[in-house]
């Protein structure tokens, strides 16, 4: 089955800085991949590269059949990126924001309403200005914008940040639902417990390259055991990870 995301020694530039210095990554449809690694390892850049927002100048890079080196813009309509900076307008209400971004990518009105309802913002908060929302609620609004797009590839940059416990459960449930419906998810996260429970595979990045890839038992086992159970700690970074987790 042909991979959704295929990077082979891909180099991506941020200005002149080679944020991705020859990365190899393959993601199959319906997989949930967790990106791990120190700050500056290139996690966010991988996500933005998959969205066609960062120029790939060397190696192979195809996402959903689009060759990023030739036509990066082609893939954008079929993916969604939930980044740190949310593109929400403080003066507008939640409904206005989600409607704007929804209709911007040709989402149907009922998709938009459903998205709002799914993230629990269709009640009192619906007509509150985004400027007055808490960080968690803003993140839910950004999530609603993502849901309205019904993307094939979810690119989540530390999605659990700022979310309260209940919102994290909601997010996990939404991710599982989307994957069941054939979506694929790539996410970076510092919330290990939840991320490991979700992820089918863990990719550790270091200095813009893939340092290590391992399948994580997505089963009910507690994340810590799942990790330690692997045994074949190849590079020292993995040993560190298991020690820390």
């Amino acid at each position: 089955m042909e991979p959704i995301v295929h990077f082979r020694a891909a180099v991506a530039l941020l200005g002149r800085f080679p944020a991705l210095a020859g990365i190899d990554l393959d993601v199959m449809r319906g997989e949930i991949v967790l990106l791990r690694g120190p700050n500056g390892a290139g996690k966010t850049t991988v996500l933005r590269a998959c969205a066609g927002l960062v120029p790939v100048v060397r190696g192979e890079a195809t996402v959903l059949g689009h060759d990023l080196r030739r036509n990066a813009a082609g893939v954008r309509r079929r993916v969604a990126l939930l980044g740190h900076a949310s593109a929400l307008y403080d003066e507008l209400t939640v409904a206005d924001n989600v409607t704007f971004w929804g209709r911007a990518c040709r989402a149907r009105p009922d998709d938009i309403a459903a998205a709002l309802q799914l993230v629990g913002l269709d009640g009192r908060l619906r007509d509150v200005r985004v400027g007055r929302l808490s960080a968690g609620q803003r993140r839910r609004a950004a999530l609603a914008c993502l849901l309205a797009r019904r993307p094939e590839l979810w690119l989540l940059d530390e999605p659990h940040a700022d979310l309260d416990h209940e919102a994290r459960d909601l997010l996990d449930r939404l991710i599982r639902q989307a994957v069941d419906q054939g979506a694929t998810v790539i996410m970076s996260s510092h919330d290990l417990d939840r991320a490991l429970a979700l992820a089918h595979r863990i990719v550790t990045l270091d200095a813009g390259m893939t340092a290590d890839q391992r399948a994580a038992g997505a089963g009910p086992g507690t994340p810590a055991e799942a990790l330690r159970g692997d045994g074949e700690a190849t590079s020292e970074t993995t040993a560190e990870v298991s020690h820390v987790a």
Binding site: L13, G15, R16, D206, E240, V244
Partner: protein, 269 residues
């Protein structure tokens, strides 16, 4: 580490010290010849402009400023033309050479515009009693100078190289159209109020005065070329110096991984 010099056919002129190691400069045999020619032409210009050519009947000696003013104004527009063409080519080809040429063109155009404004107002003072006669050409040159200052400010302030080149190229592309629109509207605006002062600016000139003006064009042309070559090379070096080329940057980036810095201190909530 001996720098192995690629075999270079030694040009005619004997350059012993240059053969030993490449001199760290933006000069080259071509620019030295160009520089020499420019100096000779400038000397000729001084000779003709100040000594040989007679004073004008009406404007007396202040007409000698014209031998600088008109050529400077001409090469000001040539510089803007370079910038716009180079910006258009950069938008199509995205090669750094065009970006460097656009920057060089604008900066040198700014130098010539200052000269044009200076000599223009100095010329106005004795002839019409005021430094600034709101003459159509001088006014539009002033507006053009402001545009050039804006263009160079944008280049200096935008730090991300990729964004800088793209934005400067769009601004540079609009430079000549803007100049044309401004010139037309200023010309039109001035013609409303008084007959075009063009006639007084370019008195009928012949004989040695005409020669002086021609020498002025040649001298300024050589100076313009010399400045362009050097400024282009500086822009070229700028790109190379501030951004190591891809290989070196990649090597540095990969080196980071072999010696991971702080161990991963992930704090699980």
């Amino acid at each position: 580490m001996t720098t192995t010099l690629p075999p270079r056919p030694a040009p005619g002129a004997a350059r012993d010290e240059a053969d030993a190691a490449r001199p760290a400069t933006t000069a080259s045999p071509a620019t030295r010849v160009l520089g020499a020619a420019a100096l000779v032409a400038t000397a000729l210009l001084v000779l003709y402009g100040l000594v040989i050519s007679p004073a004008d009947r009406e404007m007396a000696d202040s007409v000698r400023l014209m031998y600088i003013h008109v050529p400077a104004a001409t090469y000001l527009y040539v510089g803007c033309f370079f910038t716009t063409v180079a910006s258009a080519m950069w938008l199509r080809r995205r090669t750094p050479g065009w970006d460097a040429l656009a920057e060089a063109g604008a900066e040198i155009a700014l130098v010539f515009s200052i000269i044009t404004l200076g000599t223009g107002s100095l010329w106005g003072r004795p002839t019409w009693g005021t430094y600034w006669t709101w003459d159509a050409r001088l006014t539009s040159t002033a507006v053009l100078t402001a545009m050039l200052v804006g263009y160079l400010a944008l280049r200096r302030l935008e730090l991300d190289p990729a964004a800088r080149s793209t934005r400067a190229a769009v601004l540079g592309l609009l430079l000549v159209p803007n100049v044309i629109v401004v010139n037309r509207s200023v010309e039109w605006w001035r013609s409303l109020h008084q007959g075009s002062t063009l006639v007084k600016l370019d008195p009928s000139i012949e004989g040695t005065m005409l020669v002086a003006l021609m020498v002025g064009f040649v001298a300024f042309g050589l100076i313009f070329a010399w400045l362009m070559v050097h400024r282009f090379r500086i822009a070229w070096l700028d790109q190379k110096a501030d951004g190591l080329d891809l290989e070196a940057a990649l090597a540095a980036r990969r080196a980071e991984s072999r010696a991971p810095t702080a161990p991963e201190t992930e704090v699980t909530p």
